[in-house]
């Protein structure tokens, strides 16, 4: 009933818990899969991310065009216009509430930032990032990536339902999310602030101007939505109840096939 596990520092005598499962065969094996810190930060992050997305959309709808450079206003050459996609300026304005958007966007940006710093500091310190999130060199071979991708395409494959460590593609997407995407979103976000741009004018140079920062921030929003959609689909494909329960309680029930 014991499963060998390669869990880094989280591994310990508590890792395997035998519990009674009244519905199934009587006894099943449970595994401590996620630490407190990862669980709490993850769900705070989901709430903050949800509010950031919603409030960000509200802010965007109030000015539904994107430009490049320092300058951009209605009538100035735009690189994206929502009106080209069938939603007129006025319709967008009615859908979006700028005041609500700004209040909640900046509030949850702080929640997101503080939560993210706790998560990053804690998990760099404990080795979680190195042991469980950072892809190993041998995982990054193209043959292996191809195999994993093929595996990903099979909804509910036994290997995915029983996996107790992250797949390479999963690791890569988490690492990109945490160490590339989040910092870029943060910087393109604050580059739009006139007070921060005055303190750190290099931010404007880095992104090519305030409107460029706004455009990159909006492209980032689309990538964020894609990440969440794929992430949630992956969770569903890998055994929704068991996976989500594990992210809440920390305990993962090792499926029968693996025992």
């Amino acid at each position: 009933m014991l499963i060998s596990s390669s869990f880094g520092p989280a591994a310990g005598k508590d890792d395997f818990v035998v519990a009674t499962d009244p519905v199934r065969s009587g006894v099943s094996t449970w595994l401590r899969l996620h630490t407190y810190n990862v669980r709490i930060c993850h769900w705070i992050n989901v709430i903050a991310g949800g509010y950031l997305l919603l409030s960000g959309i509200h802010i965007f709808l109030d000015f539904p065009e994107l430009y490049w450079g320092h300058t951009g206003y209605q009538g100035y050459p735009a690189i994206f216009k929502l009106s080209d996609w069938g939603i007129s300026w006025d319709e967008a304005g009615e859908m979006g509430n700028r005041m609500w958007g700004r209040n909640y966007h900046f509030t949850f940006a702080w929640v997101f930032l503080i939560n993210g710093m706790v998560y990053a500091a804690w998990n760099l310190w404990t080795g979680h990032v190195r042991d469980r999130l950072w892809p190993r060199r041998d995982e990054l071979s193209s043959a292996r990536l191809r195999d994993e991708l093929a595996e990903q395409m099979r909804w509910g494959s036994p290997a995915r339902a029983t996996a107790t460590s992250y797949g390479t593609l999963q690791k890569v997407s988490y690492v990109l999310m945490i160490f590339i995407f989040v910092p870029v979103m943060l910087l393109t976000g604050i580059a739009q602030s006139p007070s921060i741009a005055a303190a750190w004018p290099w931010l404007l140079d880095l992104f090519g101007g305030r409107q460029s920062a706004r455009t990159l921030h909006s492209i980032g929003t689309v990538l964020f939505v894609l990440f969440v959609v794929v992430h949630v689909l992956e969770v569903l494909a890998a055994g929704a109840v068991n996976r989500i329960r594990a992210m809440i309680t920390g305990r993962f029930r090792v499926p029968e096939e693996a025992q």
Binding site: T107, P194, P201
Partner: protein, 252 residues
């Protein structure tokens, strides 16, 4: 001259010497929080946002200044573009020849300034990006009298001065704190791109507070008042946009 007045003159040079400690010493610790703190998580975030950005701005850097080549081909007009107020329309028809700005409250010598008197004060010209909280931004060349100069010409502010409140011809009002008042780029602008300020952009006088969003850059300014508290002024939050529910501090 009061202590604050002395500070006001000293800091009208770019990169002014006012330090965070000096501001604290002169009763400007308001620099880190809005006059009214909203409840809940939003209020906490407001204070975090304001104190963080103000801490980054400790040395009072200038907002970036651009070149003539960067100036927007046609500077947008937004919100109120022509107040219907009768008195305002009268002044407009007279080319603002009989218009004057009232400067009162906690200044040593409350007085009125005609447009010419304001233009005779030492002026400042700056090519800056107007950043609207709505999302747009445009670069324009503003010329005007530094607010600190105007207050100085009214005898300087008294030691308990904490906010400057602006009233406009269309019934709007906003306020800024001393941290922003002493900044060299905080000007009462009467020219845009070398011409008299167009009506749509707030003729004859508008506030430029370059490190805050558009909604703090109040147009059609008709009166300014120095106060020790914004309580009791309309709904008491320090501005019409914050009365509506925007954050009083427009730095982000």
């Amino acid at each position: 001259m009061s202590r604050m007045t002395a500070d006001l003159t000293r800091t009208t040079k770019p990169g002014g010497a006012i330090s965070r400690r000096r501001l604290l010493a002169t009763g400007c610790s308001d620099a880190f929080r809005p006059p009214v703190i909203r409840g809940g998580l939003i209020g906490a975030a407001d204070v975090l946002t304001m104190s963080t950005t103000r801490w980054l701005l400790t040395d009072q850097p200038l907002a970036r200044e651009y070149t003539r080549a960067d100036i927007a081909p046609d500077f947008p007009t937004w919100g109120q573009t022509n107040p219907s107020d009768e008195v305002y329309q009268q002044h407009l028809s007279e080319g603002f020849a009989n218009w004057s700005l009232s400067v009162g409250g906690l200044v040593e010598r409350p007085r009125w300034f005609s447009l010419d008197e304001l233009k005779r004060l030492a002026s400042r010209t700056q090519i800056t990006a107007h950043v609207c909280e709505q999302g747009w931004s445009a670069i324009g060349e503003w010329t005007g009298a530094p607010l600190a100069q105007v207050l100085e010409a009214a005898g300087g502010v008294t030691p308990d001065a904490r906010y400057v409140v602006f009233e406009s011809a269309d019934g709007w009002y906003e306020s800024i704190d001393m941290f922003e008042v002493v900044h060299p780029q905080t000007i009462l602008a009467y020219r845009l791109n070398g011409d008299d300020l167009p009506v749509g952009n707030g003729a004859p006088l508008r506030l430029r507070v370059e490190r805050q969003c558009g909604y703090k850059n109040i147009k059609f300014v008709s009166a300014i008042r120095v106060v020790d508290s914004v309580a009791g002024i309309r709904r008491g939050t320090g501005g019409l946009s914050s009365d509506f529910g925007f954050h009083w501090y427009g730095g982000v």
